[in-house]
């Protein structure tokens, strides 16, 4: 062997056979003279054990240690190994090693080139996208569909028939694992491309792909994976199946509901203000403090509308003298009634009888309307004479429980964002906008026609809208925040509020089911049903949170399929649904957040919805507390009990699962792995839910709104300073000056703010001064000054316009990572509070013991 190599080397002119680059070089170039002289002494030696040499070369010290070999072979670069004398073997080995390296490099290069070419193509494709005016294409498409050539019924039927046929074909054809894998890849690839196209059309394509994948999964699940032989397994399997069917149904209904969000804009009003109708503004209140109501009334007073056509009424179910006095002082109406029958609905109905405006605008007592509220909304009533109700979003300028306790305020869309950002716009397209109880205008005529606000259920608002729709009236939604308020303060009140919604929706579902009865279009029925069905997620969510445990604990196979096959079927379903939803809802709900929001509530809404279904009259109305404050951060043990139990169950499951993976069930590792992954995911979501139960401290009574408004400071010596607000509230301002400026605390100043061109100055005191930051607190404002303050701040027409501009974009992986971190934090906080609680317990026991001793 050796002589041959040397011979070849010599003839090629490779004077150093251990240098592979030289071999390569000599294969293509001839050596020059002085290189040839060295050729006579090729420095090659012999060595017996190639393994020894390799070990030495790599730096492996203990040759029998496998780990060291692995370590040095794959992890520590060979450059570190000591060089020793050469040998033929070494030559040979290095040669092969290097050739392999070369080969590897070239393959890598080719792959990279391929990837680069592909990504270049991808970029080309993508760069082509923005050149198209997608809005225009969308409009043209809409126009086409309206033309008579498309309106032929036979054409429609042919299309429907065709698509149903192909749909059926794709959904029911069985594939091998490879076929299913290709199906996954192709669908995914198409979706990844399509979602880059802006506009609404791609949303439809993504929806179609997702429906395809989900239906295919559903079909397979239904026909191939139900264990029918054993009773117990079958029972659990059907439970999971039902939960899946529920989510599948809600997914599909949701797609229909949100297929084409209407995105209504404001309409201008006639120039002649004498044509404008009269409007009564109702502000119902029951037990909220005056401090909460006051700004709302003052903001309502500032609504830009002919003053002889705007009447404001406080509807006080608490019948408080303080409120009566305030109403008088503020110059607004004050209405009370002898009883509190039917709560808010009854309150509104009572006021309806005593007032006469053509329209009624309703604001919960903590929703401050902006001054452009009526000007921006009333236009639609002029255009659409059948329009009975117009809703605007409920916007919150304080963080809700999730946002406060997880620290995601204004970064991640909150729970309400999906409903007001997308679902209502989607409903609007089908003429199924719901009334949401506040921040809405209703035409008095139709409202009286349906007998006023509905009193049969606890969600009087949605039910009233349903009744209006049944009479053939239209409703509208404008997705521009024209009023804003405080979000629920604590987790318990948040849950209380959602329980009420869930109960109310279940009640409507039971007593006035949208699928039954007259007057609704098919799509209105779908929108209403989805809204109601949505609140039945309690049990399905719990099933998903515990399903993998049945296997991990009892080895029950509730899905009878090979793990790999299950993964191949379920992945396209989940991926496509995720992609479609990220595309449709991305700006209103980040990926995976629905799981967190739902998991927090799941346990609590099961009972209310179930009771409401069986006995719609049972239970009692609860009012959500607002304007409260949490003085110390604390962990809400009571509320979080169900999640802690679930988390504990899952942790035990995970531990058992690890045992199964390594020791007991090594014959079905795939199944174990799948269930483990599912459990881990559930644990993260539950951790985030537990994190929400850690109530962060909240000290300010009046919430501060971040804002950048010009402010003038007037000092007592007659000098002034321009600066800008950092935040404002009803009680003070945070100011940002151009440069450092120290002021003594308690110094009196005046601050002026502008409302359009008009300036208002307010007396104030300095409460903090740091560098270029200044905190001032208003000093005994008169009611008129407070009204002006509201106009300059909360009630500005553009106050909430660009609220979510700074929000993060939805990136599923990022979102997942974030939730995973929240999950970890949740457990950490649980652990800390647990040990704190234990320490306290021990202390109290010791104290008790001590007392016993004395």
């Amino acid at each position: 062997m050796r002589p041959i190599v040397l011979w070849v080397a010599r003839h090629l002119g490779v004077f150093r056979p251990d240098q592979p680059s030289l071999w390569l070089k000599r294969l293509f170039w001839l050596p020059n003279a002085d290189e040839l002289t060295e050729l006579t002494h090729p420095q090659v030696d012999t060595r017996s054990d190639p393994l020894d040499w390799l070990a030495e070369k790599l730096g492996v010290i203990d040759k029998r240690n496998v780990w060291q070999w692995l370590l040095y072979l794959f992890i520590i670069p060979p450059g570190n190994a000591a060089r020793t004398e050469t040998s033929v073997w070494r030559t040979f080995l290095t040669l092969t090693v290097n050739t392999i390296g070369l080969l590897f490099l070239s393959v890598e290069w080719m792959v990279l080139a391929g990837v680069r070419a592909l990504s270049w193509l991808w970029q080309q494709l993508l760069s082509f996208l923005p050149a198209v005016d997608h809005e225009a294409v969308g409009h043209r498409l809409e126009g086409w569909l309206e033309t008579s050539s498309f309106k032929k019924p036979w054409l429609l039927w042919v299309l429907v028939l065709f698509s149903t046929f192909f749909f059926w074909l794709i959904v029911t054809t069985p594939f091998t694992w490879f076929g299913q894998f290709l199906f996954l890849i192709i669908l995914w690839g198409v979706a990844l491309f399509v979602r880059r196209i802006p506009g609404n059309l791609p949303a439809l394509i993504l929806i179609a792909l997702s429906v395809l994948a989900s239906c295919r999964y559903g079909w397979w699940r239904l026909t191939q994976t139900i264990p029918l032989d054993s009773g117990w397994e079958t029972f659990l399997a059907i439970g999971l199946l039902l939960a899946e069917i529920y989510t599948w149904l809600v997914l599909l209904l949701g797609y229909i509901q949100n297929a084409w969000p209407l995105k209504r804009q404001t309409l201008s009003l006639p120039l002649d203000t004498s044509l404008w109708p009269s409007v009564d503004v109702f502000i119902p209140t029951y037990n909220e403090p005056l401090k909460v109501l006051e700004p709302t009334v003052l903001a309502a007073k500032g609504i830009d509308w002919p003053s002889d056509k705007l009447n404001i009424y406080i509807l006080d179910d608490g019948r408080r003298d303080e409120f009566r006095r305030f109403a008088k002082e503020a110059g607004v109406g004050y209405i009370i009634r002898p009883d509190n029958a039917h709560a808010k609905a009854g309150n509104l109905n009572h006021a309806l009888k005593l007032t006469h405006g053509e329209y009624v605008a309703i604001f919960d007592c903590d929703h401050l309307p902006t001054n452009s509220f009526l000007r921006s909304t009333m236009g639609w009533f002029f255009k659409d004479k059948r329009c009975a109700m117009l809703q605007t979003p409920h916007h919150f300028f304080s963080p809700d429980t999730f946002e406060r306790n997880l620290g995601t305020f204004r970064r991640v869309p909150n729970e309400g964002a999906l409903f007001y950002g997308l679902i209502q716009d989607g409903n609007d397209f089908w003429n199924a906008t719901f009334f949401c109880g506040s921040c809405a205008v209703i035409r008095r005529g139709p409202l009286e026609e349906v007998g006023g606000v509905a009193v049969e259920t606890v969600t009087e608002d949605a039910h009233t809208a349903l009744k209006l729709h049944r009479l053939g009236y239209t409703t509208a939604y404008i997705n521009i925040p024209l009023a804003a308020g405080l979000a629920t303060e604590s987790l318990s009140s948040h849950i209380g509020q959602r329980i009420r919604w869930a109960r109310g929706m279940a009640q409507i579902f039971r007593i006035d089911n949208p699928f039954l009865g007259k007057g609704l279009s098919f799509f209105q029925r779908i929108c209403y049903s989805n809204a109601m069905l949505h609140f039945f997620y309690g049990i399905p969510r719990l099933i998903f949170l515990t399903a993998p445990l049945t296997y991990l604990y009892f080895e029950v196979h509730i899905i009878s399929a090979a793990a790999a096959m299950l993964a191949l079927y379920v992945l396209p379903h989940m991926l496509q649904a995720n992609l479609a939803n990220a595309h449709i809802q991305g700006t209103h709900r980040h990926s995976f957040w629905a799981e967190v929001y739902e998991s927090v509530l799941a346990w609590y809404i099961i009972l209310p919805t179930a009771v409401a279904i069986f006995n719609p009259k049972a239970g009692k109305f609860n009012v959500t507390a607002k304007g409260g404050l949490i003085e110390h951060s604390f962990f809400d043990w009571t509320i979080s009990k169900p999640y802690i139990v679930l988390a504990a169950l899952n942790i035990v499951g995970l531990t058992i699962g690890l045992g199964r993976f390594f020791f007991w069930n090594t014959f079905e590792m795939g199944t174990v792995l799948l269930n483990l992954a599912w459990t881990a995911y559930n644990l993260l979501i539950l951790g985030a839910a537990i994190g929400v139960a850690t109530e962060a401290r909240q000290v300010r009574v009046s919430h501060r709104v971040t804002s950048n408004l010009p402010v003038a400071l007037h000092f007592m010596d007659g000098s002034t300073k321009m600066c800008r607000t950092e935040d404002y509230s009803m009680t003070g301002l945070g100011l940002l000056l151009d440069r450092e400026f120290a002021l003594p605390v308690q110094e009196r100043v005046w601050v002026s703010l502008w409302y359009g061109e008009v300036e208002f100055a307010f007396p104030a005191r300095v409460i903090a001064s740091h560098g270029n930051k200044l905190g001032v607190q208003f000093d005994n404002l008169s009611i008129e000054q407070e009204a002006n303050l509201v106009q300059c701040t909360f009630a500005r027409a553009d106050a909430w316009r660009n609220w979510s501009d700074g929000q993060d974009v939805d990136r599923p992986l990022q979102s997942f990572k974030e939730i995973a971190i929240f999950g970890f934090k949740g457990y950490r906080s649980l652990w800390r509070n647990l040990s704190k609680g234990l320490a306290r317990q021990r202390q109290s026991v010791r104290g008790w013991l001590g007392r016993q001793m004395i």
Binding site: A712, H714, G718, S719, M722, E757, E759, A761
Partner: protein, 257 residues
């Protein structure tokens, strides 16, 4: 050249102050500004930083038959000021007679000055009624009528318009409120009255009362560098911006100093 006459019916409302401040701000933006004192009080040069009231000026020049504008001064801010010059009773009487006889005297004199076309001419005047104001109004492209947020200005509100419609009906008239103390409710109410009476003819943003103004004069420093973030600096800059994009926007090629 864009010519502005700064006038008022009531005295002490801040005409001279506005004239001087606007001229200084213009110069600071490298726009040529000429402040013309057409008030026998002869105070503008003092406001623009000269130590004592100037002896020479347009009246002595007129009496001695010198060319108009020969005795202009330039201050450290590059503002050119043509003072009125010292006057005595007799010379004033002669001058006023001359002005009455020749209503376009000032206009003609200004037309003779060789000044860049993108420049600004700001004319300070005594309070109405006076032949000096009428001359300035005739010469001006824009009449800036200064109001104080007090009852005097409210009562005298029609005076400027009456005079203007008699002597220079084509000139544009804009009212501006100076010396507003927004912490005083009375003044805000008066401002609202002005707003509702004058509507579009009132410049929407008033110039506030601010200690920075007398302080700047006392230290003979310019407002912008003494208290750049004061409210009044903000107001004056706003007024100037509005002038530049509005009435004065038709000026061809604003020429640098």
């Amino acid at each position: 050249m864009f010519k502005i006459a700064i006038v008022s019916a009531a005295g002490g409302v801040g005409r001279s102050t506005l004239t001087a401040s606007l001229a200084t701000l213009l110069a600071q933006r490298e726009i040529a500004a000429l402040a013309l004192d057409f008030d026998p009080q002869n105070l503008l040069s003092t406001l623009l930083g000269s130590d004592e009231a100037s002896l020479g000026g347009l009246l002595p020049d007129f009496l001695t038959g010198k060319e108009f504008g020969k005795s202009a001064l330039v201050n450290s801010n590059e503002v050119v000021c043509l003072p009125f010059g010292r006057a005595n009773e007799a010379s004033l009487v002669t001058f006023e007679q001359h002005l009455r006889a020749e209503p376009e005297w000032l206009k003609k004199c200004i037309a003779q000055i060789d000044y860049p076309s993108g420049a600004f001419l700001l004319m300070d005047t005594p309070r109405l009624p006076s032949p000096f104001v009428r001359q300035a109004m005739v010469a001006a492209d824009l009449v800036l009528a200064v109001l104080a947020p007090d009852v005097r200005s409210l009562a005298l509100l029609p005076a400027v318009e009456t005079t203007l419609s008699r002597c220079a009906p084509e000139s544009q008239l804009i009212y501006v409120v100076n010396g507003l103390d927004s912490t005083r409710a009375v003044q805000s109410d008066l401002l609202a009255r002005f707003r509702s009476t004058l509507q579009m003819r009132l410049f929407p943003y008033p110039v506030h009362r601010d200690e920075a103004i007398p302080r700047a004069v006392a230290n003979s420093m310019n407002l912008q560098s003494l208290s750049p973030d004061s409210l009044v600096a903000h107001d004056l800059n706003g007024l100037l911006n509005w002038l530049l994009v509005g009435p004065a926007s038709s000026l061809d090629g604003r020429v640098q100093v």
